[in-house]
């Protein structure tokens, strides 16, 4: 029996999507189900997992409240600080920079994001560590300054690590901005500052929202920055998870925490998309 055109077309589509679907199912959907199952289990006598159906792990969540508190305070705070530095930078790149240099300047902002976050965070560990800035301060007479392993160091690391990711979406939204609107505003007698607040800023809000949402979501799962710059004193949910899985081997409790982390990410994402729709008036908002 010869294949009809539609059957053939369907077969090709299925063949194209088969590997990716299999991958998504086996390494995303199944692991997530496994994690849900583990989260209602019990810790085995020697660590690991023992089958059970109990919500004891979830009831035990307050035991790690410090990690939740730090994450939920420092992730948005870090994203906000990032925004404060990123907006003027993006504005300069999109509006003020000469077109001749723009591409190079933008590239210089993007490139660090794709280099190792581990190495970039290590750089600050090096600078803030006892033989870095505190040592220099000591030479001019200011002794015993501790910079590393403080919330401030973690925030600095966050701004450093995620600044490129905040600048890009804001830059894109500012670059798309129709210059004629700015000219029209000026022609109608608006001062530059009032043009900025009534035209430029509102039109760049979708970019701001995308940047804030992206950075906040990535920060919620952060491990390296609090680990290296917070030194066990300022720890995030990610640090609690590494401890529970790789050191204390309490997998069911760790799974319960991981499930709540995903829930938090989903809530933040949903709220961000709601706000973004309201701002832009369309549903065409790309968060990824």
């Amino acid at each position: 029996m010869p294949l009809t055109m539609t059957t053939k077309r369907r077969l090709v589509t299925a063949a194209l999507l088969a590997p990716a679907s299999a991958w998504l199912f086996v390494f995303l959907v199944l692991p997530f189900i496994a994690m849900l199952v583990f989260s209602v289990g019990e810790r085995g006598p020697a660590g690991g997992y023992q089958a059970a159906f109990t919500f004891a792990q979830y009831a035990n969540l307050p035991a790690r409240s410090a990690a939740y508190w730090n994450t939920l305070m420092l992730a948005p705070a870090g994203a906000f600080l990032c925004l404060l530095v990123a907006y003027p930078t993006a504005y300069y790149l999109a509006v003020k920079a000469s077109p001749r240099h723009r591409l190079l300047l933008v590239s210089l902002v993007v490139v660090p994001f794709w280099t190792s976050l581990l190495v970039r965070t290590y750089a600050w560990m090096y600078i803030l560590g006892s033989r870095g800035i505190p040592n220099l301060l000591d030479m001019i007479g200011i002794a015993d300054v501790r910079l590393l392993n403080t919330p401030g160091a973690v925030l600095l690391g966050i701004v450093y690590g995620y600044l490129p990711l905040m600048i890009m979406p804001i830059y894109v939204s500012l670059e798309k901005l129709d210059r004629r609107l700015l000219e029209a505003s000026a022609d109608l007698g608006a001062k530059p500052l009032s043009t900025f607040f009534s035209v430029t800023l509102p039109l760049s809000l979708p970019g701001v929202m995308t940047g804030v949402a992206l950075v906040t979501i990535l920060l919620l799962g952060e491990y390296l920055i609090p680990q290296l710059l917070g030194g066990g004193k300022v720890f995030f949910i990610g640090n609690a998870l590494v401890d529970l899985f790789l050191q204390s081997r309490n997998w069911p409790f760790g799974s319960a925490i991981a499930v709540t982390l995903v829930a938090i990410v989903v809530v933040v994402l949903t709220v961000a998309m709601r706000i973004a729709w309201r701002i832009s008036g369309t549903r065409q908002v790309d968060l990824v």
Partner: protein, 274 residues
């Protein structure tokens, strides 16, 4: 305004520059530069653990990025042939693969694989005729699978965006001129999406090569370069770590520069796009 921008660029690059500078420091002391030397590079490169970690990272990045590029491109091509409902489901899964934190991906993969291995290994042992049955465990495969999940989604997104800018008319024109779908794909579509596929491959490679947290969970007894660097940092900040860090930086800088050149090529060739 200019001063602020200069400060931002200084902020972005000065810390990296400092690490690079001190990797050439002759002295052990991290706070003063006592003379130029490449001694630490020699020391780092003579370290067999570092070389093994580097080899592992290169193998894992190469395999996972290749799979991601091939499967991701196939998925991007297949997606536009799907109905809107099936496409929404697929898009949702891709978005989840990108948005779910790496630490959760690592944990979920670890938990699932350990459960699967726990079921399969005794079964293999029961039917194995020889003395020592093979044991399935964490290692290359699990890292490649977990990295490939994120990077495949990334490649799909990049190639999908490129396909969206392609004119349908040229594909239809090709069909009108009696080209078979395969010929149209090979001569019309493929050349146009190839730069984004390559860029996606390089970004995938860079991600896998730089990833620490996902591999940390699913590496088993294998050591990747970031895991090795992390362990060295915890043992103490030495100029040797600076040398390794500098080499890691240079490697990812090269990759990202090539990727960006390819992406720019793409935009230059299609002034109508974007």
């Amino acid at each position: 305004m200019r001063a602020l921008i200069t400060a931002v660029y200084l902020f972005l690059y000065a810390p990296i520059a400092l690490v690079v500078l001190f990797s050439f420091n002759a002295g052990r002391n991290a706070s003063e530069f006592t003379g130029f030397s490449v001694e630490w590079y020699g020391k780092a490169l003579a370290n067999p653990f570092l070389i093994t970690a580097l080899q592992n990272s290169l193998i894992i990045a190469l395999v996972s990025a290749t799979l991601a590029a091939v499967f991701g491109t196939m998925a991007a091509l297949g997606l536009e042939r799907l109905g809107s409902r099936a496409r929404a489901v697929f898009d949702g899964l891709l978005a989840a693969a990108i948005v779910v934190p790496g630490v959760v991906i690592g944990i979920a993969t670890l938990v699932a694989l350990v459960a699967v291995f726990g079921a399969i290994n005794p079964a293999i042992a029961a039917i194995w005729p020889g003395e020592r049955p093979p044991q399935l465990g964490l290692g290359y495969g699990s890292i490649i699978a977990a990295h490939g999940l994120f990077t495949m989604a990334l490649v799909t997104m990049i190639v999908k965006a490129r396909i969206a800018t392609l004119g349908r008319d040229i594909v239809e024109a090709s069909a009108d001129l009696y080209a078979t779908p395969l010929t149209t794909f090979r001569d019309i579509v493929l050349p146009q999406i190839l730069p984004s596929v390559l860029a996606g491959f390089l970004l995938a490679f860079t991600f896998s090569f730089d990833d620490f947290i996902v591999a940390f969970f699913v590496a088993g007894s294998k050591t990747t370069l970031p895991i090795y660097v992390f362990a060295s940092i915890r043992r103490g900040v030495t100029p040797e770590v600076n040398a390794i860090a500098t080499m890691v930086l240079v490697a990812s800088l090269l990759l990202i520069l090539i990727a960006r050149l390819l992406m720019r090529e793409k935009t230059r060739k299609s002034p109508a796009g974007e």
